[in-house]
């Protein structure tokens, strides 16, 4: 039973345009959500997070939106750059001890 799902395995975007990565979850106990970015042969690195008490969090070119009623979150990257090409994972935590549940990842390719 996948509690966190990323339904798009890949996404291709032109440089300078917006990238939108989506994530859905089923467990209503999740109250903290994170996005991680992963390059080949490296471990995931933390990108941005959002608490369930908020519906938006912004950090530079990266914005995460949370829709609790729909159990859906999205990551917006504006403008997209070729260096953003990586696999992006969303993860969820029920704040009971930092035990993250990850989605399957979306491979983003930003074309110059």
């Amino acid at each position: 039973d996948q509690q966190v799902k990323q339904n798009s395995p890949s996404l291709s975007v032109q440089e300078g345009r917006i990238s939108i990565l989506n994530c859905d979850y089923t467990n209503s106990m999740f109250d903290y959500f994170l996005w991680y970015k992963k390059y080949p042969a490296e471990g995931p690195t933390f990108l941005i997070s959002i608490s369930s008490i908020k519906d938006k969090n912004e950090d530079g070119r990266f914005t995460v939106f949370l829709n609790k009623s729909a159990k859906h979150l999205s990551l917006h990257i504006v403008p997209s750059q070729p260096g953003d090409s990586a696999v992006y994972f969303c993860a969820a935590d029920n704040n009971a001890g930092n035990m993250l549940t990850f989605g399957g990842g979306t491979r983003l390719m930003v074309k110059p």
Binding site: Y36, G43, F46, N95, G97, N98, F102
Partner: protein, 114 residues
């Protein structure tokens, strides 16, 4: 600040053999995690340590997998005997504490079981 170190980076073994992975977390990080990432999937938590005690190992296949964190610093993850389906990247992560702290990941160990 040094990151999370893992070794070896790659390992190829035959099924039924044993293998061990090592992790050195970021200095001062009390919480350590081992994840299994199968190709095309997200990381799955296997075990979480707080200092040298186990917080959660509910997803660790205990008939073949074991992990320890002696002295609350370094950790080893062992598989004995390995199965074909254990082929994956094994990621170690650490955080300052449990609950609300960012997890820092090592580069992982890619295990291939033939």
């Amino acid at each position: 600040e040094a990151g999370v170190a893992q070794s070896p980076r790659y390992k190829i073994i035959e099924k039924r053999q044993s293998v061990a992975f090592w992790c050195n977390p970021i200095s001062g990080h009390a919480t350590l995690y081992w994840y299994q990432q199968i190709l095309g999937q997200g990381p799955k938590l296997l075990i979480q340590f707080q200092n040298n005690g186990v917080v959660d190992d509910s997803q660790l296949p205990k008939d073949r997998f074991s992990a320890e964190r002696l002295k609350g610093v370094d950790s080893t993850l062992k598989i004995q005997p390995a199965k074909l389906e254990d082929s994956a990247v094994y990621l170690c992560a650490s955080s300052l504490g449990a609950g609300g702290y960012e997890q820092y990941f090592g580069p992982g160990t890619r295990l291939t079981v033939t």
